[in-house]
Amino acid sequence: MMNIGIVSYGAYIPMNRIRIEEIAETWGRNPDDIKKGLNVFEKTVPSPDEDTATISVTASRYALSRVNIDPKDIGAIFIGSESHPYAVKPTSTIVGEAISAVPELMAADYEFACKAGTAAIQNCMALVRSGMIRYGLAIGADTAQSAPGDALEYTASAGGAAFIIGKEKVIARINCTCSFATDTPDFWRREARKYPKHGGRFTGAPAYFRHIIGAAKLLMEKMKTKPEDYDYAIFHQPNGKFPVTVGKRLGFDRKQLEQGLLTPYIGNTYSGSSPLGLCSVLDVAKPGDRILMVSYGSGAGSDAFDITVTDEIENFDRDKAPTVRELMERKRYISYAIYAKYRNLLYWE
């Protein structure tokens, strides 16, 4: 079997944070109810000069800094996001130019709510396996939108992760990946609309839980594995509660989830959500560690990955770029007024 997998990775999250208290008090809600209900305490906020392109560029540069790869050998860049800065004009070419991977480059932007980043990983794997490219760069990044006062405002945040996929010096082998998708309208944003809408509790049982459980079970059936075979499990994290509940339902314990569970302190980074969880696990993983990752995108679908960390991680320059923990600790708190300014919620003529 060809060893295809992650050759390097990089993460980025903005340094601004807003506390749940700050948002809840603005809307006359009890912050303790929200923190308890969502298991989220603060979230990241992009500065006015940060967007999906800048987040993707930084995460990609961090990934490149950890390995000795000529950017010209990257044959494909796919970026999954639901906040591409342009409706028409790719983010992937901006990133390609910034890291000098142009012009012999397959570039495309993906959208599948919060799971387009993992779809990018799958397609890079396929292109590497077929021999069409040597390395592929798969990115999941977002500056998620939420209407002022909506329940989403407590979680919608910004961040992203980049993975160089290849077959040489693989630090984490992807043993298997599979997907589970149906037409389930739990969350959407129509063309030209600023903010998404969602189906309330419909986003739970028939959407998030059905698809994650479906994909995870499918993968474990194919691989003939059980929850206890994995050292780490990462599930998409729209809030701090769903991934813990879905993990429990599938038979994983809290210890397997802890390292990859970031939402309580950074919010839901959408396309960056499970990829950032994977980065956090790779920050500490040892050779032989086995990882299960399942993303979720509304609309709806899940991509599941069975990953084994290789001996190569011992020769890998993890220290050349910041870890997810380091990025999480680099923070400054902002008020709702600053948040409103940064997120363009103020109106004047």
Binding site: N30, G199, G200, F202
Partner: protein
């Protein structure tokens, strides 16, 4: 006028039923009622169905023919009529079905109630329900039903010293009863503190004072009493039927703490039945909000005006109380798919009178009453039934 009996009942599970459509729900309830009665399709002379706003909830009107069609009755070409009276649509459909059998025009009649409410998101359901308020004088200014009932609750507290705790007791009792009803939307025990500490909806009402947005359907089979014995030994006879109306907007009423429509509709029903309120053994009343159950037991004459809160607090309306109210869990815990509610109430009373209500069975129940309200009290339908 002929005597009329209910010979069959059918009800679906109530709740957020994402895998069941409007037509799935009503045909399931109808089929259950037909099987319960032991009739065949060709026996059916007419069909009535109560539904409040399928047009807005699922984009479907022309409900009468649709229900006949999706129930496999299309080739019989029976008259099929939809009745609308806001949240009293079900009760009104039952009354129309009752009148049609009593008059001698029809013999066997199917009457159903249905609402599929969870296909719309968030506040949209509240907006749709607000269409049952006065658009020009109430809804236009931003009032929704929780707001209207909150005003009633405030006034009731002011006039009669009714407390928040007494209102909360209604929800606590109905959730307790709902635990015993397998079809109920909620199976969760709650406390007075839970109610008081739940998120505020419209002061003084909190989330747990309010009935939920539910999907569900219920159906009944009606027959002339003379023919009822052909189908069943446990005959439940409709001995009283009343309906009344009032001003659509709250401000049109002399006293917002009394729903005159309830007083008038129940007066008609008691008179026809030849009974008094104290003769009622079990009642299903319209507790769309906790304060509404307090109003109901007062306006139906179970207690004097102003004493409803105290009666609830003292346990008079509990399953083992003097007059058990809402043994099904009521709208609060059983759920409130608006068009289905009036029929579901009657289905519960039939089960209670037949002695088939399982763990929530009221002991020795012989006479039962249903009370179905539309809007903030602009419509009311009351039925009284007796097992014979």
């Amino acid at each position: 006028m002929r005597d009329v009996a209910i010979i069959g009942v059918g009800i679906t599970k109530f709740g957020e039923l994402w895998d069941k459509s409007f037509r799935n729900l009503i045909s399931e309830a109808g089929t259950k009622a037909i099987l319960d009665a032991g009739i065949e399709g060709k026996d059916i002379d007419a069909l009535y169905v109560g539904s409040m706003s399928p047009g807005r909830f699922v984009g479907q009107e022309h409900i009468g023919a649709l229900v006949a069609d999706c129930s496999g009755l299309d080739t019989l070409h029976i008259p099929a009529t939809r009745i609308e009276g806001a949240c009293a649509s079900g009760g009104m459909a039952l009354r129309q079905a009752y009148i049609s059998v009593a008059s001698g025009i029809n013999d066997i009649v199917v009457v159903g109630g249905v609402e599929k409410m969870t296909d719309v998101v968030g506040g949209e359901a509240t907006n749709i329900l607000a269409m049952a308020a006065d658009q020009e004088w109430e809804a236009f200014f931003g009032v929704t039903f929780p707001g209207l009932y909150a005003m009633i609750a405030r006034r009731h507290m002011y006039e009669y010293g009714t407390t928040r705790e007494q209102m909360a007791e209604v929800a606590v009792k109905n959730h307790e009863n709902g635990l015993l009803n397998p079809n109920a939307h909620f199976h969760r025990k709650i406390t007075v503190e839970d109610v008081l500490n739940s998120p505020k909806v419209a002061d003084p009402l909190t989330l747990l004072d309010c009935s939920p947005i539910s999907d569900g359907a219920a159906a009944l089979i009606l027959a002339p009493l003379d023919e009822a014995r052909k189908y069943t030994d446990k005959i439940v006879k409709i001995i009283g039927s009343g309906q009344a109306s009032d001003s659509l907007a709250l401000h049109g009423r002399e006293d917002i703490c009394t729903l005159r429509a309830t007083v008038e509709a129940s007066k008609q029903a008691y008179k026809q039945a030849g009974i008094e309120p104290k003769d009622v053994d079990v009642a299903e009343v319209h507790d769309c909000f906790t304060i509404a159950e307090i109003l109901a037991i007062e306006d139906l004459g179970f207690v004097k005006k102003g004493e409803g809160g105290k009666a609830v607090e003292e346990g008079m309306t509990r399953l083992d109380g003097e007059i058990p109210v809402n043994p099904s869990g009521g709208l609060k815990a059983k759920g409130h798919p608006v068009g289905a509610t009036g029929i579901a109430q009657a289905a519960e009373i039939v089960l209670q009178l037949r002695g088939e209500a399982g763990k929530r069975q009221v002991k020795d129940a012989e006479i039962g009453l249903t009370h179905n309200i539309g809007g903030s009290g602009a419509s009311c339908v009351v039925h009284i039934m007796e097992v014979i």
